[in-house]
Each structure stands twice: as C-alpha cells, then as structure tokens.
C-alpha cells in the first residue's frame, strides 16, 4: 500500500487490477476540502491515461514491481524485444503506451525493465544518454548570434537542439526528460 501523500512520478499503482505508472502528480486543496494528490496514471497494458484523486492520508494499492537489466535487441512490427542479461531469456514489450520510447532505444544498450507478475511492462529510460548525430545541416560560422542552436536528428530519430559546432557523426549527451543537449562527448 502507498499513502496518497507519498505517490510520486514513477510510482506504480494498481488501479482496478491493472498496473498504472504515475506520469504526473500535483497536490490540490479544493475550497473547504482536505488535501488530495491528483495523479495522472498510464495503464501499462494499453497506454490509457486516467486521472485519480487520492486523499493524502488515504492508502491505495501499489503494484509490486521488479527491475531487471535487459539488453535492447531490436523491434519487430509490434514489439520491442529485450534480452535478460543473465538468463538470456527474451521479452516482448508491445508498442501501445510506449510509442515514444523508440527515440531512446539503441541496439545493444542495457535498460532497466519493469516487471509486474512476471510480465515486462515498462522500459526505464536513463536520465541522460549518449546519442550519435545522424543528420545535421551545416551552418556557416558568423551568420548567427552567439548561443544560437540548430536542430539535429540522432540515429534513433530523436530531434535535439544543439550548438552550431556539433557535426554529423559526433556523439552528444542528452537529458532524456527534456530532450535538451548537455555536452559533446569525445570518443
């Protein structure tokens, strides 16, 4: 069980027997009412987002989940396919609800996979990741003010705004929550 006041982004709640991951949480005090946590939670099986309000003192059921390190292998027409680094077992995570994850998945990289009752239900994207720039237009030095940025496309399809000196083929560190460029990575 988890107290309403302890629910945070990333908490996994069991709502009507389905695991839901909290994607947004705010505390609300309605006029002349008690304090409540209002959460937006995504059904990890079908991607539907629901709004729930829980009194901060009340407890609700949370889902007991396990995190296992798995290597991303490839995707087929409907699933992302991962392999358990220790047992070599393969897991399929269907696209619905995880469509935007494709921009952060790089073959051969290890990710933490969230398991609920033996089923792989979510992929934890690291907070910062290194990407290779696949497409970048060349800007002529001096044609813009300092601090100017340009959009580049990474190998995964992720679009990031970077300083003008970044070239195609270079590696960059990106904050995956905001998709903001952090720094150039020397290899």
């Amino acid at each position: 069980m988890i107290r309403g006041g302890d629910i945070a982004k990333g908490s996994v709640l069991l709502i009507n027997s389905h695991p839901h991951i909290v994607v947004d949480r705010e505390f609300v005090n309605p006029g002349k009412g008690a304090a409540f946590a209002r959460v937006k939670a995504k059904n990890m099986r079908n991607g539907n987002v629901v709004t729930q309000t829980i009194k901060t003192q009340d407890e609700v059921e949370d889902a007991q989940v396990d995190l296992i390190d798995c290597q991303y292998q490839y995707s087929d027409a409907e699933n992302y396919i991962f392999m358990n680094n220790e047992s070599f077992e393969q897991y399929f995570i269907p696209f619905p609800g995880h469509e935007d994850k494709k921009f952060y998945l790089q073959e051969g990289e290890t990710y933490s996979i969230l398991f609920y009752e033996g089923e792989a239900i979510d992929i934890k994207i690291p907070y910062k990741m290194v990407f290779t720039v696949a497409e970048s237009e060349n800007y002529v030095r001096g044609d813009t003010v300092s601090g100017a940025t340009k959009p580049v496309v990474c190998e995964t399809g992720l679009v990031v705004r970077v300083p003008l000196f970044i070239k195609q083929g270079e590696k960059i560190l990106v904050n995956t929550e905001t998709n903001e460029y952090q720094e150039r990575v020397n290899t």
Binding site: E26, F27, V28, K32, F36, I54, D58
Partner: protein, 329 residues
C-alpha cells in the same frame, strides 16, 4: 520573479483600492494575530505566542483569513468593507499555486447576496484587466451550477446522490479509487477533482454556483435544496475566489461551529475557538462576502499560472535555501 509582474501587481492593487473606495466601501485593517479562530477542518493554521515578562504568555494564531475579525466589525458598523492583507495557512503542499503566506482580498457587501457579489467581481475584473489580460481571464463570466457540472462532465446526478453510500458507489462505478468508508465530502471531492474540475470550460472565467450543503462552511442554505448559496470562480484552471451569501442564523452558525470543532480535534495544529462567536450573527446584517486570492488574481490578469513568477521570495525557495533548518518528521 519577473519585474513586470511586480509592476502589474502594484497597478492592480491601486485599481482594486480605487474600485472599492469609489463605491463607498470602508477599507479595514484587522489584526493578523487572533486569540481564537473560526473552526475550519479543511485547513491548518500557524500558532505563535504573545510573551510579556510582566503579564505572562498567551497563545495566538495567525489568521488563515481576516473573516474572524471582519465579521464582528460588520456586525458593529453595518456597512460594506474590504481589506487586502496577508493570510497564513499551514501544512499545504508547495506548488505553483500555493504559498503558506499569501495576500487575500476580502470584500463584504451589506444588503447583497451572492448574485450581487458575482456582478461586483465581474466589474472588478473589468476595471483591473490590462492589455496583457488573456481572454480566459476577461469578463463576462460564464456560469454553471455544481449539479450541471457533475451531470455534464461526470455523468452523475449529484442531487440524487446525497446519501454517502450512494455517492461512494457512484464514484467507484466510474473507476475512481474512492474508499468504501469515505465520507460524503471526501467522495464528492474525489469525483469533483478527478472528473469535473479538470474538464471545466476554461475559455472564460467560470462561476461555479450552488455548492453542496454537505460541505461545511458559513454560507446560507438555499431552502428546500441540498445546496448552499456559495460560488467559486475559476480562471485558467485556477480557483480564484470563494463567495457566500453569508449565513445569518446564529443557530445554524453555532451548529456548524460545533461540527467543525469536533472535526478539528485531529488537526495537526489545534487552535482555540470562541464559543460566543456565533452569537454575533444575531445582529448580523444581510450580507455577501468574497475571499479572493489576490496573488492568483494578478496571475490571471497577467496571463500567468505560476506564483514563483510573481513572488519575490517563494516559500519553496526559502525552504530549499534553508534545508539545514528543517527538522524532518
């Protein structure tokens, strides 16, 4: 903090004062410290202490609203009054719309009801709007009753759901996590906050009227209905003000005091209640009062939705910079 917003705040405050003074309201300045408060189980308060080396010590509380002082003054003066002052609410979460100390604009109109207050508030918005005021904060106000909002946005007939068990069941039927033992008020808030409030029309300021009588407050009952003569104003998803046709029946006020005092027994910060306070309502003139979060009012009129843009020292920053002084539970 944005300097432009501070300038706007100053302009709006000046306009607000001129607006009420021009209509003959008396500006009052009541104490921030009180020896007893109106019991309100929905909020927590700040306690402090008067310390006189010769006389002794006395518990005092910072007012969560100036109502506790303004109402006795209205009973005495029998005229319309307004006040802009700091108020204090403890234990609330910190966020873009909450700060434990905030500025309240409170105005009471003698001889008026909540409909008159709605028109007055609309005129105040018109007077204070600036060139940057977005459409969602400009009058005319839209109106909707709580029953209409529940019917249209949650598909529930609130008037028929006055029984606790029935409302709990209806909320659960909508897939909401309403505990079986939830009170009527908590179940109402869970449905309201999950299904109704996030979908309220937001293209113009919205007056949500006729609140359930089962939610305790000092608004007058609408006879023969399960509603109180109370409205709240929403703009841009923010709750800006709360208005009553004030209760004037000392018996009803006393009953409300007793119920709320009982519920206050589990408060984190208990406070004294003046048992004689309800008596002043025997001489209370017909009156309607509005309590408006002035900082939120400024945010709405400037098209903003985050207090940290307006406040020079948001409490969340004070807390973060003085983390060492925090005694964790």
């Amino acid at each position: 903090m944005d300097t432009r917003l501070l300038e706007e705040r100053s302009r709006i405050l000046t306009e607000t004062r001129a607006f009420f003074l021009g209509r003959g309201y008396l500006e009052t300045d009541t104490p921030a410290l009180a020896p007893a408060l109106i019991p309100e189980s929905c909020l927590e308060v700040f306690r402090t202490e008067y310390d006189n080396p010769f006389l002794g010590r006395m518990d005092l509380w910072l007012v969560p609203s100036p109502e506790v002082w303004m109402k006795p003054l209205i009973a005495r003066l029998r005229r319309s009054v307004f006040q802009v002052c700091k108020c204090f609410r403890n234990s609330e979460s910190l966020g873009r719309l909450h700060n434990p100390e905030f500025t309240m604009l409170e105005y009471y109109t003698v001889g008026a009801d909540s409909g008159d207050s709605r028109q007055l508030t609309e005129e105040l918005f018109r007077r204070c709007a600036g060139p940057d005021t977005p459409a969602w904060a400009r009058p005319p106000f839209r109106r909707m009753t709580m029953a209409e909002a529940f019917r249209e946005l949650a598909g529930l007939d609130l008037e028929a759901l006055q029984d606790r068990g029935a409302l709990v069941e209806a909320g659960r039927g909508k897939g909401l996590l309403v505990p079986l033992e939830a009170s009527w008020e908590d179940a109402f808030n869970q449905v309201f906050l999950s299904l109704v409030e996030p979908s309220l029309p937001a293209d113009a300021p919205l007056v949500l009227e006729r609140y359930p009588a089962q939610i305790e407050c000092l608004a007058a009952d609408i006879p023969g209905t399960p509603w109180k003569d109370r409205w709240e104003l929403y703009a841009g998803g923010m709750e800006l003000c709360n208005c009553y046709t004030e209760a004037s029946d000392p018996g009803a006020v006393r009953a409300s005091f007793e119920r709320e005092s009982e519920r206050k027994r589990t408060a984190r910060v208990p406070h004294r209640v003046d048992a004689g306070y309800p008596d002043l309502f025997s001489g209370f003139p017909p009156c309607s009062g509005v309590a408006m979060g002035f900082d939120r009012f400024v945010l709405a009129l400037t098209g903003e939705r985050d207090l940290s843009r307006l406040l020079p020292y948001p409490f969340a920053d004070i807390l973060a910079e003085n983390e060492g002084a925090l005694r964790r539970p």
